[in-house]
């Protein structure tokens, strides 16, 4: 008797990049379909394909579960590890493998890391920022935890469309910089809308006693942007590329400091 393994796949399109996940577990596939329902891709050829091998979750007593993420390159292959998953990805062959338990958080992390690696060579990045589209233009609201990303997202008026309340997606394209929606949600636990818009401004968030917008010196803007960009790879060449991307971004997109009282009036300044 021959055992047969059913091959199933989910194609996820974020930022115009398709990642296809091949799985053999229909329950896990359903979870993927639900989690990334707003980000399907119909592209025939995926930019990245992964075989996902599901394994039993590590015991909480296993100290290895606490291991931080490590992203390193061996020849042309990226090796990505964290306490809860191991992944390999060859960007030349555009194929890879993920080994994790059946949970959404590991796959979310792998997706984010793969996107940071792809974007690093294209002048784009993922950034700790909420983002929204209003009047056809996108706005980023960057800051560390507690700076106000969730608050600004919650206060967004009806005519603003949220792209993310936590991790925003920036691409450099021939027409300029664009923000894309992502499924990577923060405290709102709600994925962003799957659309793109030209970037009008990056606001560095801070809560205060009044609403005001102030210019930010260029070098300071680069420093603050760099501190908010998601990048994990221990790779000199890509680190340099991300730095140059941040500098280019600051030269092309207005960066302002947005101090705000946490109420809806803040959006009167975001037009």
């Amino acid at each position: 008797m021959t055992a047969t393994v059913e091959h199933l796949a989910a194609s996820i399109g974020i930022g115009g990049i398709t990642v296809r996940l091949h799985v053999t577990d229909s329950t896990f596939l359903r979870m993927l379909d639900q989690r990334y329902a707003g980000f399907p891709s119909n592209d025939e050829s995926a930019d990245c394909e992964f075989e996902v091998e599901l394994v039993a979750p590590r015991s909480l007593d296993d100290p290895a579960i606490e291991e931080d993420v490590c992203v390193r390159r061996e020849d042309s292959t990226w090796i990505v590890t964290r306490g809860d998953f191991q992944a390999k990805w060859d960007p030349v062959a555009r194929r890879g493998r993920i080994r994790q338990s059946a949970n959404p958080y590991s796959i979310d992390s792998v997706l984010r890391i793969v996107h940071t690696l792809v974007l690093a060579r294209q002048g784009g990045f993922l950034v700790h920022a909420a983002s929204a589209v209003r009047n056809g233009r996108a706005f980023l609201f960057a800051g560390v935890s507690g700076a106000g990303k969730t608050t600004v997202s919650r206060l967004a008026p009806a005519d603003a469309t949220l792209l993310s309340d936590e991790i925003s997606y920036v691409r450099r394209e021939p027409g300029g910089y664009y923000a894309y929606g992502t499924p990577f949600a923060g405290e709102l636990a709600k994925p962003g809308e799957n659309l793109r818009a030209p970037l009008a401004a990056l606001y560095l968030l801070g809560k205060g006693l009044e609403n005001r917008i102030e210019p930010v010196p260029t070098a300071e803007a680069v420093r603050e942007l760099m501190s908010n960009i998601l990048f994990f790879a221990e790779d000199s060449e890509l680190v340099q590329a991300v730095f140059q991307s941040a500098c280019e971004f600051v030269e092309h997109v207005p960066v302002r400091r947005l101090t705000f009282v946490p109420d809806a009036r803040v959006w009167e300044m975001i037009q």
Partner: protein, 104 residues
């Protein structure tokens, strides 16, 4: 003994808003150089002795005593070298760092 300094190839540098910013590819540290440090960085070609760089790029441009300028430059170079930003040698550096990904 003369010392020679060259820019590391493991960094990206860029003049941003009048400030020379340097990112270490080794540990992702970000540095901003002041005007004098920037002058030394830009002159660090691996073949010009540090004393000559200080004389031509610092003493000629800034109101500073040569001995004090050289002392400060040596401290700066040592600090940047410890972060992998500059390479320091007692002899000319064979393949001096051509400006690594530097843009203005």
């Amino acid at each position: 003994m003369s010392s020679y300094v060259a820019r590391s190839r493991q960094v990206a540098a860029r003049m941003v808003g009048g400030e020379m910013m340097i990112m270490s590819g080794r540990d992702s540290s970000l540095f901003s150089l002041n005007e004098t440090a920037s002058a030394i960085w830009q002159a660090a070609d691996g073949v010009t002795p540090l004393e000559q760089i200080v004389e031509q790029r610092i003493c000629a441009e800034f109101d500073v005593e040569p001995a004090a300028a050289l002392h400060d430059a040596e401290e700066l170079v040592s600090d940047l070298a410890s972060h992998g930003i500059l390479v320091v040698s007692d002899s000319p550096i064979a393949e001096p760092g051509t400006p690594p990904k530097e843009q203005t």
